[in-house]
Symmetry: C2
Subunit: 143 residues, 2 copies
Amino acid sequence: MRPADKLSHVGLKVTTPRLKVLHIFQTHERHHLTAEDVHRGMLDQKSDIGLATVYRVLGQLTDVGILSRNVFESGKAVYELQRGEHHDHLICLECGRVDEFSDDVIEERQRSIAEASGYALAQHQLALYGYCPACRERKTKRQ
Amino acid sequence: MRPADKLSHVGLKVTTPRLKVLHIFQTHERHHLTAEDVHRGMLDQKSDIGLATVYRVLGQLTDVGILSRNVFESGKAVYELQRGEHHDHLICLECGRVDEFSDDVIEERQRSIAEASGYALAQHQLALYGYCPACRERKTKRQ
DNA sequence: TAGCAAACGCGAATCGCTCGTAGCTACGCC
DNA sequence: GGCGTAGCTACGAGCGATTCGCGTTTGCTA
């Protein structure tokens, strides 16, 4: 589905800021972007869009399920295109790189733990923090 | 170990604000407190301690491992006494209640996932969000 | 108990994010 | 294709959580 169709499909008007935001997510080398990353991307391509608008658009796209939002250690929110299947994150404490993984065993355990505690599970967040292969190597050399 | 010994043991001076913070954690009915909860607790017992100091103390106690820090959905940091064993959290989206659990299967899977991706695992955070038994009941009645 | 580094207190500053509002625009209807 | 309006956007002010700067105070050691 083309970006414009995606938007009208969920009942959002097709506007320049929304298309630009989607475009940035689709073309950026990283999958996980902060509001500021997106905003900077806008300015780079000479689109004079306010940061507040970026936040608003990110929020709307998240609400309709086109994007998903995660808050990691740093305290900043990062957004990514929602590509269907759920996944969790591995975050490098050194360079900020984010990798993804999904694990059925963990998902299943989560469900039964919630059930055992009487909770109706709505969502979850699992983040593993550590040092990625590249940063580990860099560290070893330094010593 | 008494609070004062705990402090000197990790090389922190034994000061009034630090003792009061520890005291509040040890006597409060909830385990998970925000900086503001702690600050309010201080004021309640007529200790005129600045919010900035509360934050500073919470940070130091976390650094030395006496407290641990978590940031949940709300965006606020919550602190709790570190009682040895690691555990994860179940958070009620309605009333903010926090329960704890730990699961060896999940821990083990996390380790192997990190290893498989080449990451050196440093820490992790797993938070399950949902509705606690009390809030579920309240919801049912309301309808 | 004197001295000094460490810790405090408090207001101002920062940071990520949201609101208020006045002006603009996509898009369904003629 | 032109119009009207609900829905959008821009931008600065505002907000809540947290941190900083710095003058004052206080544990702790010699």
